[in-house]
């Protein structure tokens, strides 16, 4: 069985399924146990799946500009569910309009996300960070 379990899903009323599938395949090939919840995933579904699978990280994607609204309170809910040490990542088209990426990143970091990735991020771009974060998290919790 794979060493790390990742929860993957597209949050909110977002139905962009293609990138989600690509991520699933790529992360599985990279050796992770991927629990893909697909599209139209609510905060509650992310949390419940993370509890049952004892997940190490939650990877949220959002591609329709409503990410900020959909993710509001997610970190608090995770803390409430006893999942405060589960890594929380997000990537995609997170906001509408041409905002500076640094501002977007700061906003989502402030909402409790450990990593925030802009559109066009390739799997190989964030894999080293993910692996390092997972190893650090496991080291700290043991």
């Amino acid at each position: 069985m794979a060493e790390y379990t990742l929860i993957l899903g597209v949050i909110g009323s977002d139905v962009h399924a293609v990138g989600n599938k690509v991520l699933e395949v790529a992360l599985e090939e990279a050796g992770f146990h991927v629990v893909n919840l697909g599209v139209l995933v609510s905060q509650q579904e992310f949390i419940e799946a993370a509890i049952e699978t004892d997940a190490d990280a939650i990877l949220v994607t959002s591609l329709y500009g409503h990410g900020e609204i959909d993710c509001r309170g997610l970190k608090d809910a995770l803390i409430e569910a006893g999942l405060d040490d589960v890594l929380l990542y997000i990537g995609g088209y997170l906001v509408i309009g041409s905002q500076r990426w640094e501002d977007v990143e700061d906003k989502f970091r402030a909402m409790g996300f450990d990593r925030v990735y802009p559109p066009g991020t390739m799997v190989e771009d964030f894999l080293p960070q993910l692996r390092a974060d997972l190893a650090r998290q496991r080291g700290e919790s043991h």
Binding site: T5, S13, V35, L37, L40, E45, E52, T53
Partner: protein, 380 residues
């Protein structure tokens, strides 16, 4: 039985579904960590067995093991079926085996979104036949029966499985004095485009039990649900008469109805019990708007394409069931509740479903022929 899982909508729900599907009555469904009070409640409810689930395979271990330890402290002297995280289940069994008869079986939910209740169901049925019937003093029945003993709801479910092989997808509504059971035999997946399924997948053979809907022991609870005024008006009775009759039923739940008033009341209660039990069993649609247009989210089973609904129970066996009453339970137009549309109504007028289910354990083809002869002729 008590069903124990982790998340209410995931392994706890899967555990409950396994218990119901085995024909057992659920005295408690528990999520997250069991408390000492929970275990005492299980003991006080005289549970005959516990199904202990929790965690997907390779997932959460802590809850299954913690719950095993809490149970071990109490030693309730009932069998425990362990159907949780495969990677933690043997350890949970080791913890429990000091003080319980344990049975290890496959996880009811090995992965998120995958339901696997059949092995646990089978295990529960086997323990019922081999252990519970004796523990309950039922060994006396051995004077009359040589081998096959089954809980009635499990036998009805079994009859439905045999009937589905022959007649396809269908529903059985079992209206009783204390509960109303609904069994559906279909995949229930979304039927149309633009509908997205949410939640745990549903088993092909799904049983739900409504403990507050029935004609005798649950008559008071049913009346509270419907409203005394509504029920009195529908049955063309005064409220005073209705209150008095409900008290009589409470005193003597075995009494049959003989007068016109009594029969009218049974009829009104039967319609409400069946309607509400079917509504709770069926899935439903929720509207949602996305930037790519309107979508429907489906939760639970889509029963709209089901062509046959069989009604069973004493009320129907006594010939009280009116076809137009039961036809009126189903919508003729698309609705958000995914009930069958204008299905054929079949009455189990010989009250043979449970017997046929039991018989099928010995002779499946014989039971199929028996069902066909008894049910096929009565459909509209």
């Amino acid at each position: 039985m008590a069903a124990v899982g982790l998340v209410p909508d995931l392994t706890a729900k899967a555990a409950e579904q396994a218990v119901l599907g085995a024909g057992a009555r659920v005295v408690g469904c528990y999520s997250y960590e069991l408390t000492h009070d929970d275990v005492r409640a299980i003991a006080n409810a005289n549970a005959d067995m516990i199904l202990l689930a929790g965690g997907t395979d390779g997932g959460n271990r802590r809850t299954l093991l913690g719950n095993a330890r809490i149970l071990a402290e109490h030693a309730l002297e009932i069998p425990v079926v362990i159907a949780g995280n495969r990677c933690a289940a043997p350890e949970a069994e080791a913890v429990l085996s000091q003080s319980y008869e344990t049975h290890l079986t496959e996880n009811v939910m090995p992965e998120i979104g995958v339901l696997n209740v059949e092995p646990a169901r089978e295990q529960i049925r086997r323990i019922f036949m081999e252990t519970i019937v004796y523990a309950r003093g039922f060994e006396k029945v051995e004077r009359w029966v040589d081998r096959l003993i089954m809980p009635t709801p499990a036998a009805v479910l079994q009859a439905g499985m045999v009937w589905s092989e022959m007649a396809g997808d269908h529903i059985i509504v079992d209206l009783g004095g204390a509960t109303t059971d609904v069994h559906s035999f279909c995949s229930g997946r979304p039927q149309s485009e633009g509908v997205v399924y949410r939640g745990l997948p549903e088993p092909y053979a799904k049983r739900t039990v409504e403990g507050d809907l029935g004609l005798r022991v649950s008559a008071q609870a049913l009346t509270e649900h419907v409203g005394l005024d509504v029920l009195a008006e529908e049955a063309n009775l005064t409220k005073e008469y209705l209150s008095r009759r409900l008290a009589e039923i409470h005193q003597k739940p075995a009494a049959l109805s003989t007068t016109g008033e009594e029969i009218r009341l049974d009829r009104a209660m039967a319609v409400h019990a069946c309607r509400e039990a079917l509504r709770r069993h069926a899935g439903w649609l929720e509207e949602t708007y996305t930037p790519s247009g309107r979508l429907w989210l489906q939760r639970g089973k889509d029963l709209t394409d089901i062509c046959t609904v069989v009604f069973t129970g004493g009320y129907f066996a006594h010939g009280e069931g009116k076809r137009q009453d039961m036809q009126g339970l189903f919508p003729s137009q698309p609705a958000l509740e995914l009930l069958p549309r204008d299905p054929d109504i079949v009455f189990d007028s010989g009250h043979i479903l449970a017997a046929a289910g039991l018989f099928s354990e010995r002779d499946r083809r014989g039971a199929a022929r028996f069902l066909k002869r008894q049910l096929a002729g009565t459909s509209t």
